[in-house]
Amino acid sequence: MASYKAPLRDMRFVLYELMGGDELSQLPGYEEFTRDLIDPVLEEAAKVCEQVLHPLNRSGDEEGCTLENGVVRTPKGFVEAYKTFREGGWTSIACDPAYGGQGLPKAVNTLVEEMICSANLSFGMYPGLTHGAYVSLHGFGSDSLKDAYLPKMVDGTWSGTMCLTEPHCGTDLGLLRTKAVPQGDGSYKITGTKIFISAGEHDLTENIVHLVLARLPDAPAGVKGISLFLVPKFLPDSAGNPGERNGVSCGAIEHKMGIKASATCVMNFDDATGWLIGSAHKGMQAMFAMMNTERLSVGIQGLGLAEASYQGSVAYARERLQGRSLSGVKHPDKPADPIIVHPDVRRMLLTQRAYVEGCRALGAWAAKSLDVKNHHPDARVRQDADDFVQLITPVIKALMTDLGFESTNLGMQVLGGHGFIREHGMEQYVRDCRISQIYEGTNGIQALDLVGRKMPAHAGRLLRSFFHPVQAYIEAHMEDAVMGEFVQPLAKAFVRLQQATGQIARTGMAKPDEAGAAASDYLRLFGLTALAYLWARMAQQSLDQVDGEDGAFYRAKIGTARFYMERLLPQTGALFSAIMAGGKSMMDFAEDAF
């Protein structure tokens, strides 16, 4: 059975040493968030995740959710675990203090999210969706709606959902059909069917607040005619408690590959009462606000699962005895050497490790930028941070889930046939991770967002927030004798990224198919280069500490950095070639020849 230990040491490294986490408390409004406050939060979170959530991960997967007479039951232990989680204040850590939240910096919250995803992703979906709904409502809802719903969502007594998808419309929300008819009293009647709704129905909370995309009768066609509505499962009574049952019900739950303990529901809205959030026809705007933070969170799901899988595969590789080392017997006392001596096993383990630690740093960079964007006193610094968040969000979502899937898959491989057997829990990580590449906008759509929206925005200004610091870093350390081994490969990848960016900008304008053809490879090239930059910085951070008290930790960092630069970063060469080859071979291929 897999076990899980929160990687607190590495998290502290990323937060305090790499990202200068102490700076957080210098942002106005964050004065209290010093190390003395953050460390205990991380330790407490680790405890809940290791001791409460993780033990339910495999049983939840085995048991799944059940639907009976319209009532969805979560697996055994979830209700109690949720109670503990809620009472521990974990639903409210990242929320606005005005509504009972704890206002924790995003940089800290992201680490907590990672632990939850490692421990039990299915469980994490419930509070995760609530948080997404919270963000939209908080950003765009009227004061009366916010006062009525936010406190309960923040303290976790009510949960939330995001209802976008319909049977005929997933990526292309312009096709949406659900209708909203104004009632003249400020409320609306919502009618339609939503599918694939995570946490649409369950037994963890006394009420469920659905945020539903629908069309008003006079709405223009396409995405410009979509509005966002709040539709509670129970209409609040005069005291604000769940009252009359609303016209919303769960018609079915899906049977699926992974996250089986997370209920994925068909939701029927039948003249359900709802209220408009934000302006009419401007629903996508509110939705995008939520999506940006949600996409970051989904990226973190990939990271969390990869971390959990890495822990499992390392433990197994130390124990499992098979074959002898190619360079001579390492453990003559044993019938065979542990498989960790084998180069190919090391390749797998280090790949997992390099991706995991690199992605953790990347997530932290984005999260800290969000904090800066929200709290920095200087408008220019805020804009720069915001530019970076916008730019890197699709990269994080797609890169971290793709690498998460690769890593969990490698983790399973390390266990050989035993990885394929459910008992070890390794195949569950693979299955659970797979959805993260699909929902919240498929990874293909993320790549299109990067090249089609983020790249051309403001004549390329968003790119500046990444390219300028990296270029400056390269220029500053290129000639450095010690850092050279890390910075030179980075520089090579960076030039590839620059050239690919220029190429796409040039050809993509005239021929959009060319940009579309390059998009996924380009996103990966971008992501790998971003990780290279962070790995160079992590190595630099570690160099003068290798002989200190914690020397082993820093030596491992440098070793992983070296592996990343030498063995993983060269993929950028292949990606670059593929991008420069253009999309003709795909687009010239006759459609009926498929």
Binding site: R380, H458, G460, R461, R464, F467, H468, V470, Q471, Q498
Partner: protein, 773 residues
């Protein structure tokens, strides 16, 4: 008969004064007279006042302050004898027959024999103007109808009467063409001539149809606008500009003089909304507001008239799904089943049909009518070009289906187009049903014609090289907005090698509305955003090398700009052996506006010009100061004449008044340089270095203290000061061109990395306006 060496304009109103100013722009002395004012001591006050007002007006009627000095002002009582010296006398007084005729008699008494007299009337038939006057006067008399503002509107309608001497018309037309730069369209003596007869019909039809259909004026303006290549002011925006009160005047006089069967009468029904607006003083931009207004009482809110209620309401964006649905197809727009589609057809179907009706009445050739609408109303396509777009047969069928008469010329054109290209020659359909070659006036060469007939010598996505005959090649920018990019530099380099081999001379010229507004900023900004510094530096170095190669090429190079030649587009002029500029050339080194400095040799060339040609006190400092001032304030010469003052044009460079004659003049100039051609000698520079930089920096600091320069202006000016002062040098040293180019490049590279510069570039690209950070 001799040409026109002196001109008189009588009547110093907006039109008369503007005509006088433009004659002066051509370098011809001009007498401007008006009546003696009823009160006041100064008997010349009206004409003098007009000149004074014009010197302050924007857009400027004069091309330079010097031109204003060619105008002699006076009054019609004391100074009529001045007409005796004039070869052409233009009457532009109030539109009253009795007053005009009385004036003609007095003019006839003093004018010199054989001088031409013309009226700028827009409404009174020539026949009536000369009625009762001696035949000798009528023989010298014609109508020359200018458009407002006379400097900028290129159309001149010329009408001769039965008695007018052919050579009188010829002399005036030729002068208008070559000296005033006008495109002369001969019209018959019919009310409103061509442009206003059709233009006013069109405007009035659009107003009454919009009222009948209950359209929002924003929607109407967006329909009768961009989709048909009509300026975005549309209908109501244009009427606001010309003045609502002018319309009833013109319409009234035309409906009086046109025969009862003229289709004009169909659209002259009263429009009470408009009448009320005029009565209350809402006469357009010159009045309290027009169909659109900015409401000062409501925080400068933009408002528009509701045609139904006659009340102002908040202006809103046009919302016309029909335009989107039609795409680029005019037939789809005219056929669109919506109020908007029906409106488009009601207005344009009628107007185009009326244009057809004018053939044989107002003018004999369809191309005259097209030219009049293109140049008089700034339509991108003339009415017959528009009919060709929808197809003559489609148009005739739709007219018939609408129950409207199908004009004769359309029957002649059945199954044909009005224009066609036959063997590389543009042809036009005549009233005889035959196609006729379109012949350019003598001495006009158009690149467009050459392009129809031949293949480019060299070509890529952003530029082309053409053979324009007699051993001269023409380099043309073809990129979007003629922005300079690496492809242009590449082809320019190749062209230099090719011309050296196969031609005698090179002309740099194009027929875009602007010569070039400079480097492609979008490309540069994108490269800067991805920190592609080596690429940017290569772009700068490559531009420097290419322009340098152009300058020292072993054959003469003539640059022939028209419209804007800014930034890199100005720098290329500075590297030519000679410039033949269209009079309407707007040139300057404006890079500081986007936080940069001229990096393709512009600083160096301006410095060389002012050192050697500037009439300045001794020593290096005056020239440095002058160049620094020009570049650091992004000065733009607003005419070729101003460009001469700025030394962008040198003595010996030429100015062409008529846009159509620019290429021919440039070619002639290039050929004149061929014999014994020697590339220019390389200039050298003795510059003071640090001491000069300190002085310039102090001046900028002063401007900053006064709030006239922003913080980033200081940074940019500092970089510029570093170049023009010579960098790390002193007066004991002599610098060559390369040293200055290095300074330009280094300064450019340091600025392009500056976030405030990038913010300026981004702002310019996004908004078209400079950012003052």
């Amino acid at each position: 008969m001799a040409g026109i060496n002196k001109v008189a304009v009588i009547g110093a109103g907006v039109m008369g004064a503007g005509i006088a100013a433009h004659v002066a722009n051509a370098g011809i002395p001009v007498v401007l007279l008006d009546i003696v004012p009823k009160d006041g001591a100064n008997r010349d006050a009206i004409a003098e006042g007009a000149v004074a007002r014009m010197l302050k007006a924007d857009p400027a009627p004069f091309m330079s302050k010097a031109a204003a000095r060619l105008v002699t002002t006076g009054n019609t009582e004391d100074h009529l004898d001045l007409l005796a010296e004039c070869d052409w006398i233009v009457e532009a007084v109030i539109e009253r027959l009795d007053i005009k005729q009385a004036l003609y008699a007095r003019i006839d008494a003093v004018r010199k024999k054989g001088s031409v007299v013309s009226s700028n009337t827009s409404t009174i038939p020539l026949e009536n103007l000369v009625a009762g006057l001696p035949d000798s006067f009528a023989a010298d008399f014609c109508i020359t109808h200018f458009f407002n503002p006379p400097r900028y509107m290129r159309l001149l309608e010329v009408v001769g009467g039965a008695k007018t001497r052919a050579d009188a018309l010829e002399v005036v037309s030729d002068f208008a063409d070559r000296s005033l730069g006008k495109s002369v369209v001969r019209c018959k003596d019919r009310p409103g001539f061509i442009a206003n007869r059709l233009g006013v019909y069109w405007l009035q039809a659009a107003v009454v149809e919009a009222i009948d259909a209950g359209l929002a004026i924003e929607d109407a303006d967006s329909i009768i606008g961009k989709p048909m290549g009509i300026p975005k002011t549309g209908i109501f925006g244009l009427i606001d500009l010309v003045g609502l009160d002018l319309m009833p005047h013109v319409i009234g006089s035309m409906s009086q003089s046109l025969p009862a069967n003229d289709p004009f009468h169909a659209i002259t029904r009263p429009a009470p909304v408009v009448e009320r607006m005029i009565a209350e003083g809402f006469t357009g931009r010159k009045g309290k507001g027009g169909f659109y207004r900015v409401n000062r009482e409501k925080n400068k809110a933009k408002e528009a008239i509701d045609l139904g209620s006659g009340e102002y309401r908040a202006q809103r964006r046009a919302d016309v799904p029909a335009i989107k649905a039609a795409g680029r197809s005019l037939t789809k727009l005219f056929d669109h089943d919506s109020a908007h589609g029906r409106y488009a057809w009601a207005v344009m179907g009628r107007t185009l049909a009326y244009a057809c009706a004018l053939v044989g009445d107002a003018a004999d050739q369809v191309e005259s009518i097209d030219e009049a609408m293109r140049l008089g109303y700034n339509w991108k396509f003339g009415p017959f070009e528009l009919i060709d777009q929808v197809g003559t047969d489609w148009f005739a069928a739709k007219l018939a289906a609408s129950g409207w008469a199908v004009p004769e010329i359309l029957k002649i054109a059945a199954g044909k187009t009005f224009y066609r290209v036959d063997n590389g020659t543009r042809q036009v359909l005549g009233q005889d049903g035959q196609y006729h070659d379109m012949v350019r006036p003598d001495g006009v060469i158009m690149l467009a014609d050459i392009k129809l007939k031949s293949q480019p010598v060299l070509k890529n996505g952003s530029a082309a090289l053409w053979d324009i005959g007699d051993g001269v090649a023409c380099f043309e920018f073809t990129s979007k907005m003629n922005a300079l990019d690496p492809d242009i530099m590449d082809l320019l380099g190749k062209s230099i090698r090719r011309v050296k081999k196969d031609f005698k001379a090179l002309v740099i010229y194009n027929e875009g509305s602007n010569f070039s507004v400079g480097a492609n900023l979008g490309l540069a900004l994108f490269a800067a955003n991805i920190a592609a510094w080596t690429e940017i530096e290569a772009m700068v170095a490559n531009g420097q090398a290419t322009y340098r190669a152009l300058k020292y090429a072993p054959f003469p190079v003539v640059a022939a700009p028209s419209g804007m030649a800014l930034g890199g587009g100005c720098e290329i002029l500075l590297h030519a052996d000679a410039i033949q500029a269209h009079a309407e050339t707007y040139a300057g080194l404006v890079e500081v506006g986007v936080g940069l400095i001229p990096g393709w040799g512009g600083c160096k060339e301006m410095l060389a010009r002012w050192q050697s040609l500037g009439k300045l006190p001794k020593g290096p400092m005056p020239a440095i100061g002058k160049v620094f001032e020009m570049i650091s304030t992004a000065q733009v010469a607003k005419s070729a004449a101003e460009a001469q003052e700025a030394l962008i044009l040198r003595p010996g460079d030429g100015v062409t008044m008529n846009r159509y004659r620019l290429l021919a003049d440039a070619k002639a100039k290039a050929l004149s340089l061929v014999d014994g051609y020697q590339p220019p000698a390389e200039p050298s520079f003795v510059l003071p270095g640090a001491t000069a930089k300190v002085a310039l920096d102090m001046a900028v600091a002063g401007f900053q203290r006064m709030g006239k320069a922003t913080p980033h202006d200081g940074v940019v000016s500092g970089a510029l000061a570093g170049i023009v002062s010579g960098g790390d040098t002193d007066v004991t040293e002599t610098l060559d061109e390369d040293a200055l180019l290095d300074l330009e490049r280094q300064a450019f590279m340091s600025l392009v990395r500056h976030p405030d510069t990038l913010a300026r570039v981004e702002h310019m690209l996004m908004t078209g306006k400079p950012l003052r950070n």
